[in-house]
């Protein structure tokens, strides 16, 4: 009696193992059964990221001989999975480069195919965010989207102050934020919200002062830190410790009308449009240019491009190149502008398509915000980037929680970057 269940279990396991061995994997031939060339594209959250669908469908409509298949990877740990896959010799044709740091790592390891000839054929002047992809005169990826930071504001909260947001200095910004702040407890409305990342302090300081975030001399962070800490102290901004430990998200606080102004990447626009369409929020929002150190009418901000690259071990490299070229070119740009995403390729047509999106603010202020005079790279690219990034992140946390004074924090950043990063 006792032995029968054990045996049955063993048999069941054997059968299921066989079944598991057969299942999955899929066809690896590189063509579909009806003879179309397969291009596999590694990307994230296909179902909830409309730009990918727009690009793939647009491309397939023009290239009926090619079947583009998404390889869906979770956004959260995308880079880790791609690193592992490439280490194993994976042959996925196109790889989406989430940021420039990851890109430089794959490219310098020799995992990406050179796209020099494609870049040569481009109308370079119409591209923003192409330069960061140059490594020793070579290109291994083409940007298709280029987000940069603007100031999102809640019209209901900002309008009553009568403030003009078209040409704010940081000092103006701070006093406006304090003016907006009101209420207590659950009804508290904050003037502004800085996400706990280091970018709203450090990257903007670097972009507007010309400071070098890899340089090991971080005196240029000082003013922006004092601004942020002052906002926090005056109650116009949520304390960093609370925001961090309660995982407060900029979109949530902005959509629920708890904050007046949020400096954030242009990607927030698409998310707000979507949530308004779904009825998640009814916030009346607008876009303004980033505040400046000196309010002289010129806008300098920072941004980070997203790109497509071709895997060196791609199964169908020429079809993959065709897709990358199309997606980053004018047609791809038009396709993603229509879903509210800022493309890397800019042209009047594309601009028009972007502002024509239903619900997109199209006033003069928004138009000015979306045409900054200079967009610097969020973080310069080099083999030191990741290490420096880590150090700056850690010290940022300590300064913002008040564990370290601004001076001490900057001193520590200088010291650690010089001694720890070779």
């Amino acid at each position: 009696m006792r032995k029968i269940p054990a045996r049955a279990l063993t048999a069941a396991v054997a059968v299921s193992l066989l079944a598991a061995g057969c299942g999955g994997g899929g066809s690896d031939s590189g063509t579909t059964s009806d003879g179309r060339t397969v291009v596999k594209v590694a990307l994230w959250n296909y179902d909830t990221t409309p730009e990918f669908k727009a690009l793939i469908e647009g491309f397939e409509a023009e290239n009926p001989k090619i079947d583009v298949q998404p390889v869906d990877i979770l956004a959260d740990d995308y880079a880790d999975k791609v690193t592992t896959m490439l280490a194993g010799g994976d042959s996925t044709d196109v790889l989406t480069m989430k940021n420039v740091t990851d890109y430089s790592r794959y490219a310098t390891r020799g995992q990406l195919k050179s796209l020099d000839s494609q870049v040569e054929a481009l109308d370079k002047a119409s591209y923003s965010g192409l330069d960061p992809f140059e490594l020793d005169g070579h290109y291994y990826a083409l940007p298709y989207r280029h987000d940069f930071w603007v100031l999102f504001y809640n019209k209901a909260l900002v309008k009553p102050t009568g403030a003009d947001l078209s040409n704010l200095s940081w000092a103006d910004f701070a006093s406006l934020a304090k003016e907006i702040t009101k209420g207590k407890g659950t009804d508290k409305v904050y003037g502004t919200h800085f996400q706990t990342w280091r970018s709203p302090v450090q990257a903007i300081a670097a972009a507007q002062t010309g400071g070098d975030q890899l340089g090991g001399d971080y005196g240029f962070f000082k003013d922006q830190y004092e601004l942020a800490l002052d906002l926090q102290k005056s109650g116009a901004m949520m304390p960093f410790g609370t925001a961090k430990s309660q995982q407060v998200h900029y979109k949530t606080v902005f959509e629920s009308g708890k904050v007046g102004m949020v400096p954030m990447g242009s990607w927030l626009a698409a998310a707000l449009l979507e949530d308004k369409a779904k009825g998640v929020t009814d916030v009346d929002w607008g876009i303004a240019p980033m505040p400046q150190i000196k309010a002289d009418g010129k806008t300098t901000t920072f941004g980070s491009p997203t790109a497509f690259a071709v895997n060196k071990k791609a199964k169908n490299p020429s079809a993959a190149e065709k897709f990358v070229e199309w997606a980053s070119g004018p047609k791809g740009a038009a396709a993603i502008a229509k879903v509210g995403v800022v493309p890397a390729y800019t042209g009047d047509e594309v601009q028009k398509a972007y502002f024509a999106v239903k619900g997109m603010p199209s006033d003069e202020l928004a138009a000015k915000a979306m045409k900054p005079d200079a967009v610097n790279l969020e973080m310069p690219v080099s083999d030191k980037t990741a290490d420096v990034n880590q150090i700056l992140d850690e010290e940022h946390e300590l300064v913002m929680t008040g564990e370290r004074s601004v001076e001490k924090g900057i001193e520590e950043m200088n010291k650690r970057v010089k001694s720890e990063v070779q």
Binding site: R2, L17, A20, G24, G25, L74, G89, V248, H249, W267
Partner: protein, 302 residues
Amino acid sequence: MNTTTLRKDSTETGAPPAAPAPAPPGRRGELGTTVGRVLLYAGLIVLAAAILLPFGWMLISSVKTDNAVFTVPIQWIPEEFRWQNFTEIWTDIPLLTYLGNSLFLSVTITVLQVLTGSFAAYGFAKMQFPGRDALFLGYIATIAVPWQAYMVPQYIMMEKIGLVNTHLSLILLQAFGAFGVFLMRQFYMTIPDEISEAARLDGLSEYGIWARMILPLSKPALASLALLTFVNTWNDYMGPFIYLTDNDLWTVQLGLRQFVGMYDARYAMIMTGSVLSVLPILVIFLLGQRYFVQGIATSGIK
């Protein structure tokens, strides 16, 4: 408080040497016992409530809107109950497929781990042969290396064999761990050797002793091994994330992470999914913990 409960406890545990419970609870009419029991229950319930608070938060968040999940201060009673989260999640993501995959993987891995682990443990605990201890130490040693360190070499190996993106890869990786061997060996060592000696004199082979004497005696240990293996496999995220690419092979833990986007996340849905994914574990646990009762034969044999 603590010592009194402890004292109470031992009168209880110590009592039943024979299999059928000798004194059904509640029949002891003495006043002291009743007061003690009330106190014990009260204490345990308070403690359990404290223990369950985060789970409560998870439950509450599962019927909130996405924007209401992370708030300052925390919101214990939602302004708006979104019960439809529990219906929408089935169509938003192929949750049923994910649950099926998780179940398949967890059951297969648990069965294999329990079978091979308890089998190997007999060799380590009840047999004498050269190299045994060194081999055992080898087993233990590998537990000391963090998976983060060898996941890439392991992945490369799997890719070479061609098993990446199959359930089989995960089954093979997780079914033969050292955990089960170690756990079962420790338990077998508490079983008196006289039992196997007697069986040997009766002419049973070592395999016979394992199957007929040792296994039935180690039900509690088998139950805890099965429970823990099941839970760990069910909740594993990194393993399936690295090895499974096709969406129709994904497990629940992967599926739920789809709600985390590049710039934002649908937290209410994640919590809804988490609540649903805990239910199977609950059932398994409630069923499995019944085996935590005194083994009969340990006391039966002289």
